[in-house]
């Protein structure tokens, strides 16, 4: 996989909250080639902010993830999106909204979502 202009300088890793918490993160892949941690990210984007080479770390991480086994919560959330259009379960949506005094919301038709995400869900690119 193409790391683009990455020089392995280690700047991103210095700022990465996941690395500083002692977990593997995408910065390990970028800095020393170790393959663990592509799914461990808080989406804080300090790595992107700090990178002197403007590496597109987001795209790199997403492509890396598609080649690795997803953690259960990610897999479940994506399945929810594909089947309902929402990452979280929202069956009782309008009953709950009524209790809070919020107006009724029309949900998206799942057929539309199937047209937008027609792939199998594990596309490689």
């Amino acid at each position: 996989m193409d790391k683009g202009k990455c020089t392995g300088c280690g700047e991103c890793r210095q700022y990465c909250i996941v690395a500083r918490a002692g977990c593997a993160s995408i910065t390990a892949v970028l800095c020393d080639g170790s393959d663990a941690g592509a799914w461990n990210c808080t989406n804080c984007w300090k790595c992107v902010e700090a990178c002197p080479e403007d590496v597109d770390i987001f795209t790199f991480m997403m492509k890396k993830r598609r080649k690795l086994e997803p953690p259960a919560h990610y897999r479940q959330s994506y399945e929810n999106i594909r089947h309902t259009g929402y990452s979280m379960p929202i069956e009782d949506l309008n009953t709950i909204r009524e209790i809070w005094g919020l107006g009724e919301i029309r949900k998206v038709d799942p057929v539309k979502i199937r047209k937008l995400l027609s792939g199998t869900g594990r596309r490689r690119s």
């Binding site: 909250i17 996941v18 918490a21 002692g22 977990c23 799914w39 461990n40 990210c41 808080t42 989406n43 804080c44 984007w45 300090k46 992107v48 902010e49 987001f58 997403m62 993830r65 598609r66 997803p70 953690p71 919560h73 990610y74 959330s77 994506y78 999106i81 259009g85 929402y86 990452s87 979280m88 379960p89 929202i90 949506l93 709950i96 909204r97 809070w100 005094g101 919020l102 107006g103 919301i105 029309r106 949900k107 998206v108 038709d109 539309k112 979502i113 047209k115 937008l116 995400l117 027609s118 792939g119 869900g121 594990r122 596309r123 690119s125």
Partner: protein, 273 residues
């Protein structure tokens, strides 16, 4: 009164009704009426891009819905804000991608041409600081720490809002409402919430560090303006406190605390009295 579409996102829609309710009440007080965005879908967040390139169709679908109505979008979470702005920029800069997305949108009777502005609630309130000052008539009387939502101002070259290392905009809004803000060591750190998706205990530890730093600085509440931050710091607080009982701290949404300063009744901002 200006009208905009409220894009609540999945998390707020599913379980943070108090955030939506208070956002509607408070923005109403400063001249922005939020309309329901029927049939919106997940923005894609970092979930869909982890599996497929087609994530952009999902984000574009939401932008196209707004464009059909001729209205701009207000978001409540950092990740929705960043994802929708990212997609809008890609579609603006890459005609090939715009064409591919539109072929897909046509199948469901929509199209997108690039005329939708996406703003997070902090941006909307920041644009109307004078109105916030004028509407704030009650002394709230608690000192708060701030949890800045990373994705609203980072990456800077995409978001163009606030200082990417030491964000100030949320502080300006809270102070405009007359609420005292305390500085704390961990203020510029991410909450760590998204790490819950893969590694729960390290995520809880990040939250422990943050809450303990805020409490040490004298904070009596933590103000958040993102559903993800709320999920970890508030909804998981019982787990955070299990091994660290001293870390209990009320977590309040930005429009709730500002709503209190505006004298809005507790029921209209989703707070128990």
């Amino acid at each position: 009164m200006e009208r905009r579409l409220l894009y609540p996102g999945c998390l707020v829609l599913a379980c943070l009704q108090d955030y939506e309710l208070s956002a509607r009440s408070v923005l109403g007080k400063i001249g922005v009426e939020l309309e329901d965005m029927h049939e919106f879908a997940c923005c894609a967040s970092s979930i869909a891009p982890s599996f497929t390139n087609e994530w952009i169709n999902l984000a574009a679908y939401n932008l196209a819905l707004a464009e059909e109505k001729g209205m701009d979008i207000v978001t409540l979470c950092g990740s929705c804000t960043k994802t929708l702005k990212d997609a809008a920029r890609i579609l603006d800069e890459d005609a090939g991608q715009l064409g591919r997305v539109n072929r897909r949108l046509t199948e469901i009777g929509l199209s997108y041409s690039g005329r939708v502005k996406v703003s997070h609630i902090i941006e909307v309130m920041d644009e109307r600081l004078d109105e916030v000052v004028a509407a704030s008539i009650v002394e709230v009387g608690i000192r708060v720490a701030l949890q800045h939502p990373c994705n609203v101002y980072r990456p800077e070259e995409l978001m163009h809002f606030d200082d990417p290392w030491h964000p100030q905009k949320m502080r300006q809004v809270v102070q405009a409402a007359g609420i005292p803000v305390v500085d704390y060591d961990q203020e510029d750190e991410c909450c760590g919430s998204a790490l819950l998706m893969s590694e729960e205990e390290p995520a809880l530890n990040l939250a422990r560090k943050k809450l303990s730093s805020a409490i040490k600085a004298g904070a009596e509440g933590m103000v958040v303006s993102c559903g993800n931050c709320a999920m970890l710091l508030k909804n998981f607080q019982h787990k955070i406190c299990k091994s660290a009982p001293g870390l209990s701290l009320p977590v309040i949404f930005l429009p709730q605390i500002v709503g209190l300063a505006m004298g809005i009744p507790a029921a209209e901002i989703g707070m128990k009295v």
